[in-house]
């Protein structure tokens, strides 16, 4: 038999406790690059509703994961992904938690509904999350949806794949306001009560 000549994906290894040195040196405590990546997928000049997203990532014991690093990727207000954009909206951000509390936050605009798989229908507005930290061998993927998009969430093809309906709520951020600005709270539970649904994408 002929061998298949595909290569194998490089195996993942944990980001470790010092991931900030490479990916967010200011958080590690030093300044080295002229230009650094920030947490916000959109600036205040971007088109769309300006929002803040915040939360804590907790481990199986309920303790905050204080050394977590999160990257997010989202569509713009019209539901389009801005791959390669350099303007006020890039759609991507890299977020570091507070080392004392584990709280993290970023500012962005609320995404619009993107086309679903194969261009069919629409997915409810959502933000894709990638979560790495010490003790996580392979980055965890999940999505954040919006509480105030009930009808779109009810029709979302991904949320509807979650067999246990009560677990869908683990992906839906709760809306409130602070100083007139919408805040979406998205707490992530890696393991244990209310464990967040994670995806193999």
């Amino acid at each position: 038999m002929q061998p298949l000549d595909y290569l194998k994906e490089t195996a993942s290894q944990t980001a470790g406790p010092y991931v900030h040195i490479g990916l967010a040196p200011a958080a590690a405590g030093f300044d080295i690059f002229d230009k650094n990546f920030g947490p916000n997928p959109a600036t205040p000049e971007a088109e769309g509703e300006q929002i803040t997203v915040e939360g804590v990532v907790r481990d199986g014991t309920g303790a905050p994961i204080k050394d977590v690093l999160i990257e997010v990727w989202q569509a713009d207000a019209t539901g389009a992904y801005a791959q390669g954009a350099t303007g006020p909206f890039t759609g991507w951000g890299r977020i570091v938690s507070d080392f004392e509390t584990g709280e993290w936050a970023f500012d962005t605009i609320k995404p619009g509904p993107a086309k679903g798989r194969g261009g069919h229908g629409l997915m409810a507005p959502h933000i894709s999350f990638w979560i790495v930290a010490r003790g996580i061998n392979l980055g965890l993927n999940t999505r954040m949806y919006f509480e105030d998009e009930g009808a779109a969430n009810d029709a979302d093809p991904v949320l509807n794949l979650i067999e246990q309906e009560h677990r869908r709520a683990t992906l839906i951020a709760q809306r409130s306001e602070r100083g007139g600005k919408p805040i979406y709270r998205f707490d992530i539970r890696v393991q244990g009560d209310g464990e967040t649904v994670f995806f193999d994408i």
Partner: protein, 242 residues
């Protein structure tokens, strides 16, 4: 919008599982429920792209990118180079590669690292590069040292360099670690052994590359990185409206 280039599913028997009890921290940081398998949508097949305007001229020279003028990091001078490919063997041009490491004594420049080996005032320990048209990257640094870590009473990490790679799709995002040929600590490390397949571990070990050394100056190691490949659909029953 770019066409939907679906990725080969991740080989879950090749990648480390979330729960690897010998690496103790994974016990409370691993989901207990299975991952929900998703077929790709545009949310997974697109991803950020970064331009060369992000990079400074010394970003891939760790010997000098944190050193005082006229100074250089202390340690064995090495070049690390290689290519970023996909599973089809195609080079991935224009992708951001970031790297970080301990210094030649095994100490990280991080407010949380308290190991007694000294900080090198001329070594930051991080850098980045964007792959060229053939998927190549390279950087210059010092060889990092092994260091102890709290897991069992007496665990030492093999010398390693951390890598972060983007690819072109959010679902290709990868963080890994590069090890060095001949290091006896590799096969004793619970983090390395989170990977179930020895061939996958071998793929993380960079060989000494004498062809890439600079005589009388710098040793070299070669480290190729493979990201998930893109599926070319030969036949497809297209859904209505697609």
């Amino acid at each position: 919008m770019a066409p939907l280039d679906e990725l080969y599913p991740r080989d879950r028997e090749w990648q480390p599982p979330a729960l690897t009890p010998d690496y103790k921290t994974s016990l409370s940081r691993s989901p207990a429920y299975p991952l929900l398998s998703l077929q790709n949508s545009v949310s997974e097949t697109t991803g950020p792209v970064f331009g060369h305007d992000m990079l400074g001229p010394l970003d891939n020279d760790l010997l000098h990118n944190y050193a005082a003028p006229g100074e250089s990091a202390i340690g064995q001078r090495i070049i690390v180079h290689g290519r970023v490919l996909d599973e089809n063997g195609r080079p991935l041009p224009g992708t951001l590669v970031e790297f970080w490491q301990a210094n030649a004594g095994g100490r990280y420049r991080h407010r949380k690292d308290t190991y007694l080996a000294p900080i090198d005032p001329n070594f930051g320990g991080c850098g980045r590069a964007i792959t060229d048209a053939e998927g190549r990257y390279h950087f210059r640094t010092v060889k990092p040292a092994p260091y102890p870590w709290r897991n069992w009473v007496n665990n030492w990490r093999p010398a390693h360099i951390h890598f972060s790679i983007f690819g072109h799709a959010f679902a290709q995002r990868l963080i890994t670690q590069m090890y060095f040929e001949g290091d006896p600590l590799i096969w004793a490390c619970p983090i390395v052994k989170s990977i179930p397949d020895e061939r996958a571990i071998e793929q993380l070990i960079a060989p000494l590359d004498m062809n890439a050394t600079v005589p009388l100056d710098t040793m070299a190691y070669k480290f190729d990185i493979v990201l998930r490949g893109t599926r070319s659909t030969l036949f497809e029953n297209r859904l209505e409206g697609n």
